[in-house]
Symmetry: C2
Subunit: 221 residues, 2 copies
């Protein structure tokens, strides 16, 4: 859009409109790369205004304060679908999700970590769990990895949709895991990894370029 | 764009241009939600045509075959930045990245898992590692979670940019970890989690709606 503003003085209104006309298909994400692949997963569509994936990833921050505006049920379902679209070892799909929005349970959830302000503010959250019984190779621990990838999908999708969210750890804390298992009546083999509160942001955070050359290596350490 | 097409017959060309003018800010991801937050992380911008985040997450698949077309160095750097933008426990940033593109090392890497066709095809890959020395609470294992979130960022960003990638496990396999540590001269405390080959896709995969009601629970199991 910067380019358009710069050139508008010289080109006049008609030129401006033509430039916009030329640029519009490129600027609409559903028209560009989507041509190379299925139009969308079944009936699911990204709402207009959804951030592009790279910008969403680079500008996502942990948001711990939320307005009282309710998050639509359909949005929560879209976030669950995003979580379920994450890859998993051997495609086992060991990750399961518990949506928490019952005020009584939310009140108890705040006690899982009394220092966490997001748990006090939350009106809806998604508990991401690993179901150990769904692992083929039970001796190896990798349900955590599947759950973490699913969690990151939810965090990015939430931010791209204009929502705030934050990974609030349950695993690997030995005190928090049984508290949440009891509260949500989870079977022993289902380990809660985290809870991700979802809400409209009541705080703003800046982002910068977080590339750190000290963490990037080439071919050897 | 659908709406524009439907109304164009009745409104004529000038009306069409005006509608496009009115719609353009909404259809341009960098202008819509971006108003609520910084315009972008420093000098980094998503290239035109980058998929929106929700579509990218929902249509991403594991891609194991790549064309010989080289992936630009700047794209790899953007993917590393995406990985570094993932959240981490206590903001420790324990995840480190090794880009592998040296043909000699790539040849050796194929031996880490001889059954993996993507390791044979790969011309560039990103090894995502957890640096245990960067963990504050060394008794707890959570560097894996940070690394998994960073990996998912790379997978989504790659797909959104039109690239193919796949999480190729190194951890938790007790035989693969030391092989890769030796090959890349990693210190003992740096554990390779996976390698993510990056390339232009030479295979196509369909995606459907992966929402599975059996994995979604509400307030209790």
């Amino acid at each position: 859009m910067k380019m358009i503003r710069r050139s508008s003085g010289a080109m006049g209104v008609v030129g401006l409109l033509l430039v916009i006309l030329m640029l519009t298909p490129v600027a609409t994400p559903s028209r560009s790369r989507a041509q190379d692949q299925p139009a969308g997963p079944g009936d699911l569509k990204a709402p207009p205004g959804t951030l592009d994936a790279v910008t969403a990833i680079l500008t996502r921050r942990s948001i711990r304060d939320y307005t009282p505006r309710p998050v639509p049920e359909e949005t929560i379902k879209l976030l669950l679908t995003a979580g379920m679209a994450a890859p998993s070892a051997f495609d086992e799909r060991s990750t399961e999700f518990v949506v928490v929005n019952d005020p009584k349970i939310l009140k108890e959830f705040a006690k899982v970590n009394p220092n966490s302000r997001q748990l006090k503010k939350m009106t809806v959250g998604i508990v991401v769990c690993g179901n150990k019984n769904k692992q083929k190779h039970k001796g190896l621990g990798y349900w955590q990895l599947d759950g973490a990838a699913a969690s990151e999908n939810i965090l990015i999708a939430a931010h791209a949709l204009g929502l705030g969210a934050v990974w609030t750890a349950i695993y690997p804390y030995p005190d928090r895991i049984p508290m949440v298992q009891k509260l949500l009546q989870l079977p022993e083999e289902v380990i809660p990894l985290n809870i991700i509160p979802i809400g409209y942001p009541a705080e703003r955070k800046l982002t910068g370029n977080r590339f750190d050359p000290a963490r990037a290596h080439y071919n050897r350490w």
